[in-house]
C-alpha cells in the first residue's frame, strides 16, 4: 500500500509526470472551450473535474500541479491576461479536492462509496472557500495591488460555480470511473520498487 505521504505528495515516476501533463492540457483546453461565462473572467467550467481525477489516481500534489499548470496554459491561449493569483488559488483548490485517496476512495481499484462522496462534497466546499476566499485575494494584493472588490466578486462567482461543477458533475464521473476500474479488482499487482525522486 502507498504510505500517507505518498498519497499526498504522489509518487513522482514517469507515469505521474505524463498524467499530470495530460491533466494540465485537458484543464487548459476545457477552461477555454468547455465553459459558460458567469462573471468577469469566471466560467462555469467543466475543467475542475480534471484535478479530481488526477488526485484520485496519483495524489494531491500532482492534482495541484496539474491545476496550476493548466491554469497557466489556459491563460496563455485564452488571451484574458495573466493572473498568477488565480493559478495559485486553483493549485490550492486542486490540492484539496485531490485529497481523495487520503480518506479511502481509490478510483484505481474501484472504491468510491457514498461516504466518500459526502466527504468529497464537503472538501469541495472547504477547498473553494479557502482557495478563492483567502488565498486568491491575498495573492491579488501581493501581485497586482488593489482590484480587491472585483476579485472578491469573481472569487465568489468562481467558488460557487466550481462547487456546483465539482459536485454535480464530479461525483457521477467518479462513480463511472470507479465502476470502470472495479472490473480489475480481483487482480493483484505485485508491489514493485517505485523510484522516488
Amino acid at each position: 500500500m502507498k504510505s500517507t505521504s505518498q498519497k499526498i505528495l504522489g509518487v513522482w515516476n514517469t507515469k505521474t509526470v505524463v498524467a499530470v501533463a495530460i491533466g494540465a492540457a485537458l484543464f487548459g483546453v476545457l477552461m477555454n472551450y468547455g465553459g459558460i461565462p458567469v462573471f468577469t473572467n469566471t466560467k462555469l467550467t467543466t475543467a475542475m473535474i480534471i484535478p479530481v481525477i488526477v488526485g484520485a489516481m496519483f495524489g494531491a500534489l500532482p492534482a495541484a500541479i496539474a491545476c496550476a499548470v493548466g491554469n497557466l496554459i489556459a491563460d496563455l491561449i485564452g488571451g484574458w491576461g495573466y493572473w498568477f493569483d488565480w493559478s495559485i488559488g486553483n493549485g490550492v483548490l486542486g490540492f484539496i479536492v485531490g485529497l481523495l485517496p487520503l480518506y479511502g476512495a481509490n478510483i484505481d481499484e474501484g472504491i468510491f462509496k457514498p461516504v466518500h462522496a459526502i466527504i468529497y462534497a464537503v472538501a469541495c466546499v472547504i477547498g473553494n472557500a479557502l482557495a478563492f476566499g483567502v488565498i486568491t485575494p491575498i495573492m491579488t494584493t501581493l501581485f497586482y495591488g488593489g482590484e480587491l472588490e472585483v476579485t472578491f466578486l469573481q472569487a465568489m462567482a468562481a467558488g460557487l460555480s466550481n462547487t456546483l461543477v465539482l459536485v454535480v458533475i464530479g461525483i457521477p464521473i467518479l462513480i463511472i470511473l470507479a465502476r470502470r476500474n472495479a472490473r480489475s479488482t480481483d487482480l493483484k499487482l505485485e508491489e514493485k520498487e517505485e523510484q522516488n525522486i
Binding site: 513522482w12 515516476n13 514517469t14 507515469k15 509526470v17 505524463v18 498524467a19 499530470v20 501533463a21 495530460i22 494540465a24 492540457a25 485537458l26 487548459g28 483546453v29 476545457l30 468547455g34 459558460i36 461565462p37 462573471f39 468577469t40 473572467n41 467543466t46 473535474i49 480534471i50 481525477i53 489516481m57 500541479i65 499548470v69 493548466g70 496554459i73 491563460d75 496563455l76 491561449i77 485564452g78 488571451g79 484574458w80 491576461g81 495573466y82 501581485f143 497586482y144 495591488g145 488593489g146 472588490e149 472585483v150 466578486l153 458533475i169 464521473i173 463511472i176 470511473l177 470502470r180 523510484q195 525522486i197
Partner: protein
C-alpha cells in the same frame, strides 16, 4: 482538427531561430513587465514590438483573426461587467478626480477616469495576448521545456509543460472524433437547434470519453518514455537546444536591460508611490 497555433517543427524566421532559452526568458521578463505596468507609455512600445514580432513570424492570418475577435469580444464583455460592478473604479485608479460624462442614474454613470482606466485595461489585455501569441507561435514544446530548464525549473516540471503543450492538438482531434461519433448515433449537437441545458448535458457526455481516452494514453506514453530511459539522471540536456547565435546575444542584452528596468520601476513605486495609481494625462 489540425491546430493552427501550436507548431511542432521549428520554423525559419528570425524569431523562430532563437534558442528556447532566449524565448522563454524574454517571455517571462515581458510578463513581469506587462503585469507591473498599468501605463500607456510603457505598454505602447511593447504593443508595437508585439505587432512587428507577429508579422515577422508570417502566421496564418485567417485563424489568428478568429482568435483575436474572440479575445476582443471576451475582454469587452469583461470590461462592461467591470463597469457595472463599480462605475466609479477610475476615480480610485486615476487619483481621486471624477469627471462625469454621461450619467444614467445616480449610481450608473460614465466618467472620463473610468473610461480611461477601462480602455487601458483593455489595451493591456490585448498587448499581453499579442505577446503570448508571438511566444506560442514561435516556440515548440521541446524548446519550451529546454527554456524552462534554463531558468532552473526542475526538469520533471519542464516535461509536464512540454507534454501538455504537445497534447493540446490531440485533445482537439479526440474531441472532434467523439463529437462525430456521437452525432452518428443521433445526438443533436447543433447549437442552433438544442437549448442550453441540453447542450451542457451533451458536453458532459463528450467529456467522459474524452477524459477516459486521454488518461488511458498515460500508460503508453509513460512506458515509451521509460523505455528511452526518462528520469534516470538528475539533470537533463535538450536536443532541441542549439548554440546561441548573434540574435540570441542581441536578445540577451535586451532582456537583461528590461529586467533591470522592471526591477527599478517596481522598487521605485514601492519606495515612493506616485500620487495616482496609473498614468492619467487629463488630471
Amino acid at each position: 482538427m489540425k491546430s493552427p497555433l501550436l507548431n511542432l517543427i521549428p520554423g525559419d524566421t528570425y524569431i523562430h531561430k532563437l534558442t528556447g532559452k532566449t524565448k522563454v526568458r524574454t517571455f517571462v521578463i515581458l510578463l513581469i513587465y506587462i503585469i507591473m505596468s498599468f501605463d500607456l507609455r510603457l505598454l505602447l512600445p511593447l504593443f508595437i514590438a508585439g505587432i512587428i514580432g507577429l508579422v515577422s513570424l508570417r502566421p496564418e492570418w485567417k485563424t489568428l483573426r478568429y482568435f483575436f475577435i474572440v479575445v476582443a469580444a471576451v475582454n469587452l464583455l469583461n470590461i462592461v461587467l467591470f463597469w457595472l460592478v463599480n462605475p466609479d473604479i477610475g476615480t480610485f485608479w486615476c487619483g481621486g478626480s471624477r469627471t462625469v460624462l454621461i450619467s444614467f442614474t445616480k449610481k450608473l454613470f460614465i466618467s472620463l477616469e473610468t473610461l480611461w482606466y477601462l480602455s487601458i485595461r483593455f489595451f493591456k489585455m490585448i498587448t499581453s495576448f499579442l505577446i503570448s501569441m508571438v511566444f506560442i507561435l514561435s516556440i515548440t514544446p521541446s524548446e519550451l521545456a529546454a527554456g524552462l530548464y534554463s531558468i532552473k525549473v526542475p526538469y520533471k516540471i519542464c516535461t509536464i509543460f512540454s507534454i501538455a503543450f504537445r497534447y493540446i492538438p490531440d485533445i482537439g482531434r479526440d474531441y472532434e472524433n467523439i463529437k462525430i461519433s456521437m452525432q452518428a448515433r443521433g445526438v443533436e449537437l447543433d447549437p442552433k437547434k438544442v437549448p442550453l441545458i441540453d447542450r451542457i448535458k451533451q458536453n458532459v457526455l463528450i467529456l467522459v470519453p474524452l477524459i477516459i481516452t486521454s488518461f488511458d494514453r498515460v500508460g503508453n506514453i509513460s512506458n515509451a518514455m521509460d523505455l528511452r530511459g526518462y528520469g534516470r539522471g538528475k539533470t537533463r540536456t535538450y536536443y532541441s537546444e542549439h548554440e546561441e547565435g548573434r540574435a540570441d546575444k542581441i536578445f540577451k542584452v535586451f532582456y537583461m536591460g528590461l529586467l533591470v528596468f522592471s526591477a527599478i520601476w517596481i522598487v521605485s513605486r514601492i519606495i515612493s508611490p506616485p500620487p495616482s495609481k496609473m498614468w492619467y494625462p487629463f488630471s
